[in-house]
Subunit: 227 residues, 4 copies
Amino acid sequence: MAAARPALTDADEAARHARTQKRREQLLAAAARLMARDGSEAVSMHAVAAEAQVSVGLIYSYFGGKNDLLLAVIVDVLERFEAEVPRAIAAAGEDPVHRLVAAFRAYCEVIDQRRHAAVLTYRESKGLTAKGLRTIKELELATSEPLRQILNDGIAAELFAPVDTDLVAYNLLLLAHAWALKQWYFQRTLTLDTYVAKQTALTLAALISPRNRRKYAALIAGLNASR
Amino acid sequence: MAAARPALTDADEAARHARTQKRREQLLAAAARLMARDGSEAVSMHAVAAEAQVSVGLIYSYFGGKNDLLLAVIVDVLERFEAEVPRAIAAAGEDPVHRLVAAFRAYCEVIDQRRHAAVLTYRESKGLTAKGLRTIKELELATSEPLRQILNDGIAAELFAPVDTDLVAYNLLLLAHAWALKQWYFQRTLTLDTYVAKQTALTLAALISPRNRRKYAALIAGLNASR
Amino acid sequence: MAAARPALTDADEAARHARTQKRREQLLAAAARLMARDGSEAVSMHAVAAEAQVSVGLIYSYFGGKNDLLLAVIVDVLERFEAEVPRAIAAAGEDPVHRLVAAFRAYCEVIDQRRHAAVLTYRESKGLTAKGLRTIKELELATSEPLRQILNDGIAAELFAPVDTDLVAYNLLLLAHAWALKQWYFQRTLTLDTYVAKQTALTLAALISPRNRRKYAALIAGLNASR
Amino acid sequence: MAAARPALTDADEAARHARTQKRREQLLAAAARLMARDGSEAVSMHAVAAEAQVSVGLIYSYFGGKNDLLLAVIVDVLERFEAEVPRAIAAAGEDPVHRLVAAFRAYCEVIDQRRHAAVLTYRESKGLTAKGLRTIKELELATSEPLRQILNDGIAAELFAPVDTDLVAYNLLLLAHAWALKQWYFQRTLTLDTYVAKQTALTLAALISPRNRRKYAALIAGLNASR
DNA sequence: CATGAATGAGCTTTCATTCAT
DNA sequence: CATGAATGAAAGCTCATTCAT
């Protein structure tokens, strides 16, 4: 019976934590929506409050201020990346080539879903603390790590030419970002599927060593079929 | 006597025009310097005036306002691109492969020189009118046009695989931009020369059809030598 | 049985009253501490709540709001003055000169103990209602009343010159306050004891009529010994 | 003729300087008025702007911000003190007693004229930088310096008892301030003249050594006549 | 009784823009 | 042509106060 109080308190705290978390997400979502559309500097705290249907003051009890909110938005997006991409890769089996294809598709799909937020890191740098910037860069490195891994595996297995994997991994990340950054260009003529297929085909053409070409002929043919 | 006036006026007008042009360039240069470094929103008109050593008011007799100035800065940068790249290509001779190599190198070098200004188009969008945005996009298309041309020529000459030239041309433009956008990543391990060489090698690996490989073996070997 | 209820209620009410009183004092002490240190305007209700280890809301069930709290803090300080000074005077015997010396010392000691709170009345005025201000003034008058009384007694006994007692009483109060208000000046060179002794010596020099000088020669010599 | 340009420029600059100075004074006066009445924290920059009949923004081109403005107001008041008091003393001749009487009167008169502003230093301390506070204290010391000088001269001439001149000088300054600080008390029963006369009489009673009493009998009688 | 999440008016400060000189 | 003093809307942020729990 003496335990009843703590139990109640625990339940209370859990409930409070849940509400707090929900608010955070609500605010983050509102801020992401506006900042991605207009750029963080063009978005006022009043506008974020209005978008989230709360008062200005409330934002300040969840985030330290505007810059803190911006950082939280960016980190949130990057963390979702980090979580969602590996899942797609795991489902692609063991073969490095298939894994690479699946990984790049996963990146592009996540970007496509969060088209607006993905643009944020390209627009912001002023207003973020040095520590914030470091966090973002680390997350971006972590995000591209799966690609690097696959490329190294493929080179070790002599499926890929011995390229600079840091360079190629980042190129692929950039091309995924480009789908959001330059949608006005690519989305004039391509769908997400054709974009992914064509970029994949180009990459594989550069990577797969001549004597493995035949092995992946069907895969490449499939990619080219989306033209 | 009647003729004297027009003659005088013409001279006056020419002089005035020259002064006006000089002022414009002076203001543009000051604005570009600051905006590229800090982002256009973080730069005040007073700061631009101070940087250009003129009064605030003067800016308003050369540009319609801050957004107009921003647009002018971006357009100015893109126009320089449009002017400088073709010169480099022309010097590369007739062969599409060599022209492509020269063109990409030229893009990267121009970007490297105007590292800060190149970032501007990725940071700004709010505050630009629809018309301004259209102008920028058109200039960006025009900027990538030489690449598209070379690729088409190469395909026609059966030197390149029949790729989507719009896609590949824009990829190359993006990779040139990336040198500035992601300098924190690439410039950790690469110089401009190695960056250009490696990216070029990758692109050629994807583009050059198998039966032309031997023909460009020396070129590719040279690129790989910068590893 | 019918009697049990009222008895129980009485006990309850007494207990409640005691708790209420304790809370009030707890809140008042916390508020006084912060307001005296930083000025009432620089202290937020949240800070008071935190200092008192309660929630913000609770303060509002004991005080009408921030201004009400401020007034209560000031009144509380003045009431302590009113209570503590007469005790010191009573202990000084019947002679007006000794009573005056004891009274001034008592004022200064109370001020010294509540150095910070004493400053409050000099800092605040906006935010207090007219009624609140009147209350404070009345308390300040009441506080100086013992001095006025002693002075009148001394004049009646022809120990003191026939000065304006309202003026002199208030001068003495001011000099006691000054110990707190201008501590940066006086506490460079004086201790509380020397401050009291010197101010007392000056006052007695102005007050004691020539033919009584000899009578208090020892007292004055004692005061001058602290030089 | 070549000198005409510089002359014109000089005239321009002089005119500009005059306008600037006038603005500064206008803003200072408005700020002093409001801050002295309500306390600096209760006065908004908008209110100052309204009082001075200018826009908010303008204040920021004359002062660094609210704290800077507050400091400027206080310093301005103290500097006027420093300028006006010595003039009154100089007119009082050579005798230390007459000089002291004139000096105290001058202090009180200046305080009376700037009744509101004089209160400011007692109310403010939060919001002033350490450097600002030091400046104020130095000015306050400088302000009381003439009194200290007179007292030392009087003691050297054996007109005054050998008192602690730092203490007495500051007491007199405090009593002058008190006229403004506690006007609700003193101005119930006294005019400025009677206040000055009575305080002067008390001070002289404490200071003038017995064998000099007769010499200043007429002066003291005059002071007592204002009762 | 007690809590603290939520509100929103109001603060200080910045800065694009204008216009008398 | 050129200046820069002046404007005032709008920003980020704080905090006294309320009220559902």
